[in-house]
């Protein structure tokens, strides 16, 4: 078998294994539950192991695929000059498995598109998923017996319920399948399908504690807010569908011919792979009016539409509100779904769909990322729930990635996606370990825990250092975040040099780096340093079992080393070989003529690299210093500062009032319109119908009382009266006198005779 068939087959198998696990657990446990009324805990534990086994095997297959890829493809092995694809366009394999709908040339299919990015994402997703699955075996242990839910009161007592260990793993498996489906998807329609499926998995996992009203509300919020993004994505899809007529990313072989995909249609070799709208985008008005850039607007709108979906999924401003609430789910879910993989899917899609974004659309992406990273970082400053700090930090880091992609840093953005996945899942699992130990999410109730749980404390420190991008700029060595964050700031610097008016796109990430360092170390200090603030909880705290700490150590290692350039495994090198065709050379705006997206290779220039490295280092160092001053040395009192800047503090504490704003602007009016429409149905439309019915009844009454009574009954009654009257008159001749009767007989006989004679003569 050639690599063209072996790699897609391996990945397909890796993709389907979790689905099998899901189906087996779902059907098997449902049957047992129906028969026995309750799934035995031993069976539940086995279900968990099955799920872990499936994802473990998927990881193995993904890594085999990765190594096959490395062995059979040219790859650059580290940062090279970034010249334009010396070996031609990036290699990919694409084909359809089967078509869902096929009408003429219009096809909705399920298929795959496998390139270096796909292979890398598979390895990353399955690896982290395995770590989280294993960790969850320990973390969800409570679900293996009767559970007392302290957050739910039923009739004045805490809720007791049977454990649901298997359900958790059932959802995790379905999630893994859906997430890998997005990564392997060969066309936009399939991405959208799995996009929705991860959404529903996220819904199930956030709402795992179904008895908690806050959990189910957060689950609803997550799904509905995501649907708002999907609404935009649908618009983008419609525009592309009506204009290009295909959703396939790559060229699909059909017999001996090839059906061109989106990318090769929009970036044609004859145009030097520059982005040019196809005729389908050109509206007749434009054609007749001889517009300057035919179809360009529509293409930009299509790109922004697709990006809307990514905004929802990656919790970018203004749809970021769902992610912090999603922390209602169990912590392993937060680590896997809401930090490392699903929320990164939005960034992944922007990366995958990169060839279709016009420079104007990229600018929108960059500003969205920029606003998001700043807002989220500020909210994280004051959050006291350990998971919410991490949630806002996730939002902020996703903003970094979007920003990087928007300003032309494809490799930087995708690289940060990879490194972030490792250190953020690490941080979340550490926070889970802490929560497991002290049974609270509130930082003010912790403190000093590093003595009780050293592995957790120091692996978390590694995570914090990685996220702030700790490293030595002079030696050029550091933790994984150091490489990726520096790459972003380098690109931002390179962009800002060419685009003066958009300087804020450089300022925000640097300022964001200060804030990141501050809130991460604030969190670490509050949890692990200083005197314990809740003695009772401190006394009961303990290090987590090995099944939980081993994944921490593995992920900590990856958080340190993921950016390194070791042997064949060099993420940046692989990413560079996957960079979409025609996007590495930069681009110039057409509608916004002053806009220039710089080629990514420019940011590798030593001058830019040094300057950016110093800024990034300085920012991180400043942030850590501030956090240390406030929360470790306690030279300054944070509450005093808070009261000095009271309005700002309140703004941050209430999360910029986004929830309240949306509630008043969207939710309440929508419900009001619903009630209004129901009212119109009941009162106006049905009212009209009832009115008509009453009119008909009334009309019938008129007919009944006037026409029937007067005319018809009058006629009938008149006839009766006439008969009666006539009969009364006739009765008078009934006298009973015989002579009179004889006279009548004679008169009658004579009358008849004359009549007969008359008739006879008349003839």
């Amino acid at each position: 078998m050639s690599s063209a068939s072996i790699i897609p087959n391996l990945l397909t198998l890796a993709w389907l294994l979790p689905l099998v696990a899901f189906a087996v657990i779902c059907l098997g446990c449902s049957m047992v539950q129906r028969r026995q009324g309750q799934v035995p805990y031993e069976l539940q534990r086995r279900a968990g192991l099955l799920s872990v086994g499936a994802i473990g095997a998927a990881t193995l297959l993904s890594f085999i695929a990765l190594f096959v890829w490395l062995g059979t493809h040219e790859w650059t092995g580290g940062a090279h000059g970034g010249e334009l694809h010396p070996n031609g366009p990036p290699r990919y394999y694409a084909d359809d498995w089967y078509s869902l709908v096929e009408i003429g040339s219009l096809k909705l299919t399920l298929g795959y598109y496998v390139d270096a990015l796909t292979v890398l994402m598979f390895a990353m997703v399955t690896f982290i998923a395995t770590c989280v699955h294993v960790y969850a075996l320990g973390y969800m242990h409570d679900e293996l017996h009767e559970v007392t839910d302290h957050e739910v009161n039923v009739r004045g007592r805490h809720l007791h319920r049977p454990g649901r260990f298997h359900r958790f793993f059932q959802y995790l498996s379905l999630f893994s399948f859906s997430m890998l489906g997005i990564v392997i998807a060969g066309n936009l329609a399939m991405v959208f399908m799995f996009w929705e499926l991860v959404g529903i998995c996220s819904y199930f996992l956030i709402g795992f504690y179904i008895e908690r009203h806050s959990a189910s509300t957060a689950a609803n919020k997550a799904f509905i807010v995501n649907r708002v993004g999907d609404f935009g994505m649908l618009i983008g899809m419609m525009a592309l569908w009506a204009s290009v007529g295909t959703f396939s990313f790559g060229d699909i072989p059909q017999g001996d011919k090839v059906q061109p995909g989106l990318f090769s249609q929009l970036r044609n070799e004859s145009n030097d792979f520059a982005l040019v709208p196809t005729v389908g985008f050109v509206s007749p008005q434009e054609e007749s009016a001889d517009a300057k850039y035919p179809g360009y607007w529509l293409l930009t709108i299509a790109g922004i539409g697709i990006f809307c979906g990514c905004v929802g999924k990656s919790a970018q401003f203004p749809l970021h509100v769902w992610l912090p609430d999603a922390m209602e789910g169990p912590t392993p879910v937060s680590a896997l779904v809401h930090s490392a993989t699903m929320v990164a899917a939005g960034v992944y899609l922007v990366g995958r769909f990169y060839p279709v974004f016009t420079p104007e659309a990229l600018l929108v992406i960059a500003y969205t990322g920029c606003i998001t990273l700043f807002i989220a970082a500020t909210i994280a400053l004051t959050a006291t729930d350990i998971k919410r700090v991490l949630a806002y930090s996730t939002v902020s880091q996703l903003g970094y990635m979007m920003l990087a992609l928007g300003i032309g840093g494809w490799v930087a953005g995708m690289f940060h996606l990879m490194t972030h996945a490792f250190f953020k899942s690490l941080l979340f699992l550490c926070s889970g370990s802490v929560i497991h130990a002290v049974h609270t999410n509130e930082l003010p109730l912790m403190g000093g825990l590093r003595k009780k749980m050293p592995i957790t404390a120091y692996t978390m420190l590694v995570g914090c250092l990685a996220i702030i991008g700790a490293g030595l700029p002079i030696a050029g060595i550091g933790l994984s975040g150091y490489y990726s964050k520096d790459a972003i700031i380098e690109q931002a610097l390179s962009f800002a040099k060419l685009n003066g008016p958009h300087r804020v796109l450089l300022l925000a990430p640097v300022l964001g780096a200060v804030l990141t360092a501050f809130y991460m170390f604030r969190m670490w200090y509050l949890a692990f340093v200083g005197p314990p603030r809740d003695k009772h909880r401190y006394d009961h705290a303990h290090e987590s079992p090995r099944v939980m700490t081993v994944p921490l150590l593995v992920l900590a290692f990856m958080a340190i080393a993921a950016g390194w350039n070791v042997g064949p495994l060099c993420i940046t090198g692989l990413l560079e070989s996957a960079q979409p065709i025609g996007t590495a050379v930069g681009a110039k705006g057409s509608l916004a003529a002053a806009l220039t997206i710089p080629a990514e290779s420019l940011s590798h220039a030593p001058a830019i690299k040094q300057q950016a490295g110093l800024w990034a280092f300085g920012a991180a160092a400043l942030g850590v210093l501030l956090a240390t001053v406030f929360y470790c040395w306690k030279v300054m009192n944070s509450s005093e500062v808070a009261s000095t800047f009271r309005p700002i503090h309140r703004l941050l504490l209430s999360k910029w009032w986004f929830d309240e704003l949306y509630d008043w602007v969207f939710v309440k009016p929508t419900l009001a319109i619903g009630l209004g429409i129901a009212w119109v149905d009941r009162r106006m439309i049905d009212g009209l119908i009832h009115f008509l019915a009453r009119c008909a009844k009334w009309g019938a009454g008129i007919v009944g009382s006037i026409f029937d009574v007067r005319v018809i009954d009058g006629a009938v009654d008149g006839l009766a009266a006439l008969t009666w009257g006539g009969a009364g008159e006739l009765r008078k001749i009934q006298t009973g006198r015989l002579r009179q009767y004889v006279m009548f007989i004679v008169l009658g006989f004579l009358a008849l005779t004359f009549a007969a004679l008359g008739v006879a003569f008349a003839r």
Binding site: Y98, L159, E211, D230, V282, P294, G674, A678
Partner: protein, 603 residues
């Protein structure tokens, strides 16, 4: 008599015959036997309809064929040219199978009914005959008769076995539908008295079944020449020849012949009233008649009342099958017979579809009665059907291309079947609860997942099918329709896409209030027992089909697509031939663009 005529007739009339037998021979008090007998009948009909595609039946439905299959005609009232004309194609077959399926499941769901069981079963079976007849009849008069046959049992089924306001709901349903049928009758008469069979060529007369092609003794069809020769000496044929000689028109109720007249002659284009053509008036009357059934805003308010009051199995039939008759009427009658008017009113049709989608979704959001919420979701989902039919984009926008309209029309047909499955399932799921706790107040449920896990799992699956989740049937129909709209109208496309948010809103909110949460907040908590096997066997097939059609929609599309495509092709060609262009584009440029999307324009 051909196999086809016997098979299709038995399919339609078996339930009615059994109803008659029940009426005559079923002893009083044999309720259980009566239900079993009816269930077996509906199952036989289901098996008969399925055997037509899986083999085994003497009459096979050939997938991949666009034409009408197994067409046969007997003279019924020759002096008016009324025939007993049945036939089946890719548009009607899926609906026939859906009817048979939903009827069987609804009969199985009828076990909790204990009042006047015999009468219930008789009416139920008559209703099934009426529904099957509507989908198979190709003579307009016959169609109308079946349409009315279906109406009366429904009236009694709601009015006798319904809830507290059953009389109100039944009379409302009856009057609304009757109003629609009166409009339809007027349109039928307009078309009848302006039709003229003599304007059609001989082979058209053959393909439309005016000249019947009876089977020979060996089962093969008679040759065309033989059929014509036979027909010429038959009473209908002699009348036809007399009319031709006297230069008199020959009127017809034959739907296929009327389609041909609407598309290839100018019989209906004469001016009617108020400056509009006969075709326009016929279209409007028929369309209003059919969207009452669909139902579309603003003629929809009978639906929530009828659903809320109807017993569970009747709600399943109502949502699963009856609403589809409106859609079937539009695709079978409105569009092919009055294409000019349909084109002229395309924006009105699509507008009504989109308004229904939005309106139904908003109204569903505001309901506190579970069943009313599901009823309004039907209004919203059926809006997609109307929208999908209407997106006449063949000549709109930048190039001549009928494929997007085909996409929409197929999507609408798919949505009809998908909605038939998901809504029947949703109503059943509500019914399962109502049977136990006798209320439907969304705010007085909660915590059912813990008490009835299997039921809740199935219910959530079925409601997600309604929500349009990928992998389940609702998604395919919705996404096909929505994707096809852009090339017709961008504004309508954006509005229709926005409905996905509202749909998620009302369904998830309802699920949260009913299935999630810590405790059940209503009365009769002790009655919340796990789902019974009978209920499981009704719900599980629906969910299984929802998954099958969601994962492999071509299991359905392959049957319906050729017929739908052929019709769209004919109408699109007609709009091109008659010069209906929204935008003046030279044909050459347009043709080139259609064949070569990838052609790049230079800047």
């Amino acid at each position: 008599m051909s196999h086809a005529s016997i098979y299709l007739s038995v399919l339609v009339f078996l339930p009615a015959v059994v109803a008659l037998l029940l009426a005559l021979f079923c002893p009083k008090g044999a309720d259980e036997a009566c239900k079993q007998f009816s269930l077996v009948t509906t199952l036989i009909v289901l098996v008969m309809s399925l055997l037509m595609i899986f083999g085994g039946a003497p009459v096979q439905f050939a997938a991949g064929t666009a034409e009408m299959q197994h067409l046969f005609a007997w003279d019924w009232i020759p002096s008016f040219g009324i025939q007993y004309l049945l036939g089946i194609d890719g548009v009607s077959y899926p609906l026939v199978a859906l009817t048979a399926l939903v009827s069987a499941l609804a009969m199985a769901a009828s076990w909790p009914i204990t009042k006047h069981v015999k009468a219930y079963c008789i009416l139920f079976l008559l209703l099934e005959t009426g529904m099957l007849g509507v989908f198979l009849a190709l003579d307009f008069f016959l169609f109308y008769v079946f349409w009315e046959v279906m109406l009366l049992p429904m009236y009694f089924l709601i009015g006798i076995w319904g809830g507290p306001r059953k009389e109100y709901a039944a009379i409302k349903f009856f009057l609304y539908t009757l109003f629609g049928s009166v409009l339809m009758l007027i349109a039928v008469l307009i078309l009848y008295f302006n039709s003229d069979l003599t304007k059609l060529s001989e082979d058209k007369l053959l393909t439309t079944g005016v000249i019947p092609r009876l089977a020979l003794e060996d089962g093969t069809l008679a040759s065309e020449a033989l059929a014509i020769a036979d027909w010429k000496v038959s009473p209908a044929g002699t009348r036809f020849i007399e009319a031709v000689e006297a230069n008199r028109p020959v009127h017809t109720f034959n739907i296929l012949a009327l389609q041909q007249m609407g598309q290839t002659t100018d019989l209906f284009t004469a001016e009617g009233w108020l400056g509009k053509s006969l075709s326009w008036w016929a279209f409007v009357l028929l369309f209003v008649g059919f969207i009452i059934k669909v139902p579309s805003v603003p003629l929809h308010t009978w639906l929530p009342d009828a659903h809320v009051e109807a017993p569970t199995p009747i709600s399943m039939i109502l949502a699963g099958v009856l609403l589809k008759m409106g859609g079937y009427g539009i695709i079978r009658i409105c569009y092919p017979i009055c294409p000019d008017a349909a084109f002229e009113l395309a924006y009105v049709v699509c507008g009504i579809g989109v308004v229904s989608m939005v309106w139904g979704a908003f109204a569903a959001l505001a309901q506190s009665d579970f069943k009313r919420m599901v009823a309004y979701s039907s209004v919203s989902h059926m809006g997609y059907v109307v929208l999908g039919f209407g997106v006449w984009s063949a000549v709109a926008e930048n190039f001549y291309n009928s494929e997007y309209w085909k996409f929409g029309m197929n999507g609408a047909m798919f949505q009809m079947i998908a909605h038939g499955i998901s809504s029947a399932g949703m109503f059943f799921m509500v019914g399962v609860l109502y049977d136990r706790v006798h209320h439907r107040d969304l705010n007085r449920f909660g915590g059912l997942f813990a008490k009835m896990p299997t039921y809740s799992g199935l219910a959530i699956g079925i409601f997600f099918a309604g929500l349009g989740l990928p992998g389940l049937c609702g998604f395919i129909g919705e996404v096909m329709v929505v994707l096809s709209v852009w090339s017709f109208s961008k504004a309508l496309a954006v509005i229709s896409a926005a409905v996905v948010i509202l749909t998620a809103g009302y369904i998830l909110w309802a699920l949260q209030r009913v299935y999630l949460g810590a405790e059940y907040k209503g009365p009769h908590e002790e009655a919340l027992t796990p789902i019974t096997s009978r209920e499981l066997w009704i719900a599980a097939p629906l969910l299984a089909l929802a998954i099958l059609f969601g994962v492999y929609p071509r299991a359905l599309l392959d049957y319906m697509q050729p017929s739908v495509n052929a019709q769209v092709e004919a109408l699109a060609k007609l709009s091109k031939d008659r010069g209906y262009t929204h935008l003046a584009l030279s044909e050459e440029v347009a043709g080139e663009a259609a064949t070569n999307h990838a052609k790049i324009v230079g800047r």
